[in-house]
Symmetry: C2
Subunit: 138 residues, 2 copies
């Protein structure tokens, strides 16, 4: 599930947080799901337990997970909603990137095409999710 890019300049603990958020957004991790234990993930990724703990602690303080000593850590009920709201309200990074592309002479039509493609591939994914409801094999 989780993977680490040792070459990345982004700290390992942040990589884990980002990946967990992505899993929540995409629905791979749903409310109530248990995430791997600190020691388990530590052994699997060859990462120090303290580093994993730091990432999970951050997820908890963001309200995305709930930890239960002795049992494990679980995705919070409102994790997806919480995360979506936060991501939606943060458009400054997009603006900065768009300005740079505009300055670099990237045609507006090209950028708009990328926007269309992003939303189109999402629709396809959602459609697949719906189809699962009628799929007897699930």
């Amino acid at each position: 599930m989780f993977t680490i890019d040792a070459m990345s300049r982004q700290p390992v603990s942040e990589q884990l947080v980002d990946q967990a958020e992505r899993f929540i957004l995409t629905g791979i991790l749903k409310a109530g799901d248990q995430i791997p234990s600190v020691r388990n993930l530590s052994a699997q990724l060859y990462i120090n337990p303290n580093t994993i703990q730091k990432a999970f602690s951050e997820l908890g303080s963001r309200g995305l997970t709930q930890a239960v000593p002795g049992r494990g850590s679980f995705i919070a009920e409102d994790a997806a909603a919480l995360l979506s709201k936060r991501k939606r309200s943060n458009l400054t990074a997009l603006d900065r990137m768009l300005e740079e592309l505009a300055l670099a002479g990237a045609p507006q039509s090209v950028v708009e095409e990328h926007v269309r493609r992003a939303y189109q591939s999402l629709e396809i994914r959602n459609q697949t999710e719906e189809e699962k409801l009628y799929d007897p094999s699930v």
Copy 2:
């Protein structure tokens, strides 16, 4: 001209490189223009000369500036073209961001509005540049 955000996690030398590139893209720095000297900028920003040197060395290796020992460093002839080409070809970061926004439920119309605004503000800026040509006070 150059400024440093000491609070930023981005290394000082990289901040300088990014700013120089931005100046080149926006036309503030044009081909042939001399950029501040290592020692001058060092004194002005209270930054170690080695840090400035590192940034300028990077700009040189990217083909954006040309250094002449004893004279100074100058913006390369094809700096703007080189930079534009590089920035335009890098749309993967945009795709990643768009996917995240789509997943978070940001309406496509909102994203498209941001695209329009980015290109509109650029047009206004260019128009202002043209108007300068007819401005007797310059």
